[in-house]
Symmetry: D2
Subunit: 227 residues, 4 copies
């Protein structure tokens, strides 16, 4: 059985990923700070649920030990959490800058470290990070998100260079645009918001790449998005 | 019937693309300066063959008129030609620098222009360019290839920004490593050379992306490749 | 009188900057966690000394209030602190990853925020960040430094886009190579290590740019450095 | 005597460079397709004038031989020519795409090759290329300029990697905005157009860098320019 772990599981991209992985024969584990909102998803996809604050080292380490014990050490780990606050630099709260660094990047490190330890033992694995255009271009009035997503990209690049030769595939996705959801809907036929199912298909494509032809970064954006 | 055109068709990536597109139900046209070497491929994939020097405006325009007449105006066009010469800047031949610019970039413009004219009329289409790591990083002792592949990337970026909002998908592939071929084989199991079938799968994935989630650049490299 | 603040003042680049700014008529303030080691430099350059841990919001805010009270609110602020730890991702200490994010990026935000508040009131100013090649390329076995320096670059880009139109110049320096120091000397004549005086000259050049021609990033590296 | 050559000499940036180099003690040679318009500048700066079409190999080689004969082989060479045409990809003239590649990039190669041959013999030298934001980002409706300026950047990167270890400094400037001129004036005090004197100061700064701290790319833009 192939075991996957999705951290930061919510109703959007994570749900699409869980459904597509389940359909492809993966046993999925979903981890989030609050798992109430994803109980239905877990039921639908046969996924296990795990309460975990991804910025807490103990929480993250406990999560992986639990999966170890259940015989479900993941060979695919996806990190989705994000925290964004906007505003002029003069009025931002330092605590929110720290939160952006923690959720976007420090938690990604914690999860990737636990994942890498197991994948190095297993001799293979895949780690996927969900980034944003803010990780490639630092936008005005959005310093905390730029800091967090740039840091995530630095982490992903470093890990790709370290782990690819160890047979562990690392890829950073640049999601450049808004994601459609139940509460955020584009005009019919406009396709102005990223369909989470389409993003998930790109994740699964990268997952399917043989090691002679790995991508370490992939950007997706709506056809009408400025860039 | 879906019509595809592959320019610069040879025995490697182009052959993989032709086979996979044929298997997916596309009618394929293959264009090359010399079509003798791809006759077997054409037979195998039911492709039409077209003699065309992609750096000659008249040749390129004639190619598309021929396809128009046959009712096979392509909704997918792939540009593969490449020309590389290495050496210290002091001893390179200017004629070879011009050839690198012509084959890597000017021909790509000619083909993309003809393709775009038809796709704009049709209201949709996909244009894919085969680039190299030399288009992202200018390596020492390889100025002509750097110039040609950088120019190709500039073309692809400009066209993606112009044509995406017109419902025409443009993507530039960065092939970062050597491609395996009949005459260039990696040690068994080492996967040190890109499998052209794997690259072709990434092209077909990009081709399959719905317009809410388009990639405009995608890099692939072997797991052991330094970057 | 023109007032400058250098945060993270040590014996290398900061000392060169202090001397050159002093020679150019600036009143310099030096801030560091431990000021004992820079007492001689302060004496030499007429600089004021300030104990400040740049990752502590209260320390940073107190530093600027002290300068305000002394009538020395800076129109030039330079952020130099850095923290680097290397190792395989599997064995890094999370506390050190957090420290790299804090020293390289969170402290830079704290200092930039206080600086921006005053410069926005004054209607002008310059903020310079000392980055590294790790902020542009994530090297293997160096994830924490990559995360910290990428985050710094994201901060700098965001602030340049926000503050340039407010007449505040922001520039991020990519120092790509080792810096020569009393304890780290290159072979005579080899120039393999960056001369801190030379780096400081580039900082002063950027400082001198009129606003019609501002740089927001500048990289410097030894002639023999691979890149 | 220090000898400098400016190719593509006109009334804007080239004139500022000629004046500042002359003031700094350089003997300047000015090369252009038409030298009538720069006769006054030559008189003012004591520069020699040379008719040269920089995209013609014979012209370029003859130019350098002339300078050799005069004992003025340059240790500083600056390449400024540019050709830009805008329009939808569907209606661009192929001849203009070729012209953009020729003027922006092929001519730059020809000049750099002759320069490098002499600088390699001399054991030192500086080659500076005038690029544009189009060399970093491919804008819509501007494919030819993107192709030409991307190619120039690829050339510059390749040469920096080859020639820096040979003690020849190569730098590519990204001029990101319009340059003020006699016929193109910004509103007083707005500083919305790049002052060519300010750009020239950045060129001279790079020229002054010791080899322990070389820049290989430098971008300048007006404070109000979007990027």
């Amino acid at each position: 059985m192939k075991n996957a772990l999705i951290v930061g599981a919510g109703a959007g991209l994570s749900a699409s990923l869980a459904r597509k992985l389940h359909a492809a024969g993966w046993q999925v584990a979903l981890a989030a700070r609050n798992t109430v909102k994803i109980e239905a998803l877990a039921g639908e996809t046969g996924a296990s649920l795990h309460v975990c604050d991804s910025v807490e080292p103990d929480d993250v380490s406990r999560l992986f030990v639990t999966l170890d014990t259940a015989g479900e050490a993941p060979s695919l780990v996806i990190y989705n959490p994000s925290f964004r606050v906007r505003g002029p630099v003069a009025t931002l709260l330092p605590s929110q800058v720290r939160r952006a660094l923690d959720v976007c990047a420090f938690g990604a490190f914690l999860v990737a470290q636990q994942a890498a330890q197991r994948m190095l033992s297993a001799g293979h694995g895949t780690i996927l990070f969900s980034g944003a255009s803010a990780g490639v271009k630092g936008f005005a009035l959005s310093a905390p998100f730029a800091m967090g997503k740039f840091a995530l990209r630095g982490l992903a690049e470093s890990l790709a260079r370290e782990l690819h030769p160890k047979n562990i595939h690392v890829c950073h996705f640049v999601i450049d645009g808004g994601i459609a959801s139940a509460t955020r809907v584009a005009s019919p036929g406009s396709d102005q918001l990223l369909d989470p199912d389409a993003i998930a298909d790109s994740y699964l494509h990268v997952l399917s790449q043989p090691r002679s032809s790995w991508s370490s970064e992939m950007a997706v954006r709506p056809w009408v998005e400025k860039f």
